[in-house]
Amino acid sequence: MMSDLQLILQSLPFLLEGLGLSLLLTLLVAVGGILMALVLALLRLSGNRALSTLAATYVNFFRSMPLILVIFWFFFLVPLVIGRPVGSFYSALIAFTLFEAAHYTEIIRAGILSVSRGQGWAAAATGLTYGQSLRYVILPQAFRNMTPLLLTQGIILFQDTSLVFVVSLSDFLTSVTIVARNEGRLVSMYIFAAVVYFAICFVASRFVHQFEKKAVR
């Protein structure tokens, strides 16, 4: 009988494919979610009451939903809306992005509010338009303040990608499960999965910590 290590090595290509999907999904969702959240945060902070309420409603709605429900929904909903099947990956990508955007919005909103009002005044006083003062003065400071929180949310997102098994996508955890069931090695394979998740998230959080120390200076 193969040792646990041999089994892992032998299944490595399959497992790495799953890990790749988890990482790809994390990356795409983080980028898409942050871009969308930036728009939502600016709407929330705009003086316009209708737009602000609209954005707030969106955020509160998605923050009140379990992620797994949102994933399910979009799996059934997206094909209905656009009239053809889109596949598990794209429906999961859309669901995650819309969900994460709500969480990122609150982080970005707080980041923008953390920049003192005087900075906006100073920028406006030199004739910069609202858009210019956001781009050159407010957002660079805001993003520096909120990068640790955005990265932390990214780590949580990476862990949450394991939920895509419900639409039968093979992320890392799903690949591990498949190997474990086929070979009857549940305990050792799940320990292996835990070690990998721990290693990735620990390294990432050390990175965040370093960044925080730098930002404080």
């Binding site: 003192s116 005087g118 900075q119 005044w121 100073a122 920028a123 406006a124 006083a125 030199t126 004739g127 910069l128 338009t129 210019q132 050159y136 003065v137 660079p140 400071q141 520096r144």
Partner: protein, 243 residues
């Protein structure tokens, strides 16, 4: 050049500015003094539209502030403003602080903007600090950079909102000297300050505000020797008691 007519402003229930009217002509230096919370800062922020007002009218060089058709960024670009807490951009070098609006608003080339910035840094005595971040400078130095940043836009008038209130005593003079020089060069200025020495030296007129009202509007000499209102008298006696 700057004309305020019956300006009224409320913050909710609070009546911040009450029928404020005042004129500043070209080359004139107007000092605004009064107790804290009297509306001085709000008044100058209304002049370039950083604060809105509900009634009355403010005309700057023929343009109505806050009116529907007014291009506010364009108007603000022509009025320099200096703040109590400097408000330099902390993530940019001194040079970039002074170049940003020149490039983005006046569309000057990087080279032209830098040349202008260096000239102004020389003028405020900070030529060797252009590569530093604001956090590496003292308060007095930061405020002089802020003045240079405002002057780089070639403003037709300058607004100062308590420019020395956040400074340590030994740094106040280096900032006041720059302002005195500016006044003597003929810049139109509205200055909110408690520095009565500065007012005596360069002000043409002084207005005294209390509880949102302009209580006194007088020539400098008349203001210091014979203020007409009791409130101004009390204020002056308190603030000048130590000199």
């Amino acid at each position: 050049m700057i004309s305020l007519r019956n300006v009224d402003k409320w913050y909710g229930q609070f009546h911040t500015l009450k029928k404020c009217s005042v004129d500043v002509s070209r080359g004139e230096v107007l000092v605004i003094c009064g107790p804290s919370g009297s509306g001085k800062s709000t008044l100058v922020k209304c002049v370039n539209g950083l604060e809105s007002f509900q009634a009355g009218e403010i005309i700057v060089d023929g343009v109505s502030v806050g009116a529907l058709g007014t291009d506010m960024p364009k108007l603000r670009a022509r009025i320099g403003m200096v703040f109590q807490s400097f408000e330099l951009y902390p993530h940019m070098s001194v040079l970039d602080n002074i170049c940003l609006a020149q490039e983005k608003v006046l569309n000057r080339s990087r080279g032209d903007a830098e040349e202008r910035a260096r000239g102004l840094l020389e003028r405020v005595g900070l030529a060797e600090h252009e590569k530093k971040l604001p956090s590496q400078l003292s308060g007095g130095q930061q405020q002089r950079v802020a003045i240079a940043r405002a002057l780089a836009m070639d403003p037709i008038a300058m607004l100062f909102d308590e420019p020395t209130s956040a400074l340590d005593p030994e740094m106040i003079n280096e900032v006041l000297e720059v302002m005195v020089q500016l006044a003597q060069d003929g810049m139109t200025m509205m200055v909110v300050t408690h520095e009565m020495g500065f007012a005596r030296k360069v002000a043409d007129r002084v207005i005294f505000m209390d509880q949102g009202e302009i209580v006194e509007d007088a020539d400098k000499d008349a203001f210091f020797t014979a203020p007409s209102s009791d409130r101004a008298k009390t204020f002056l006696s308190r603030i000048l008691a130590h000199i």
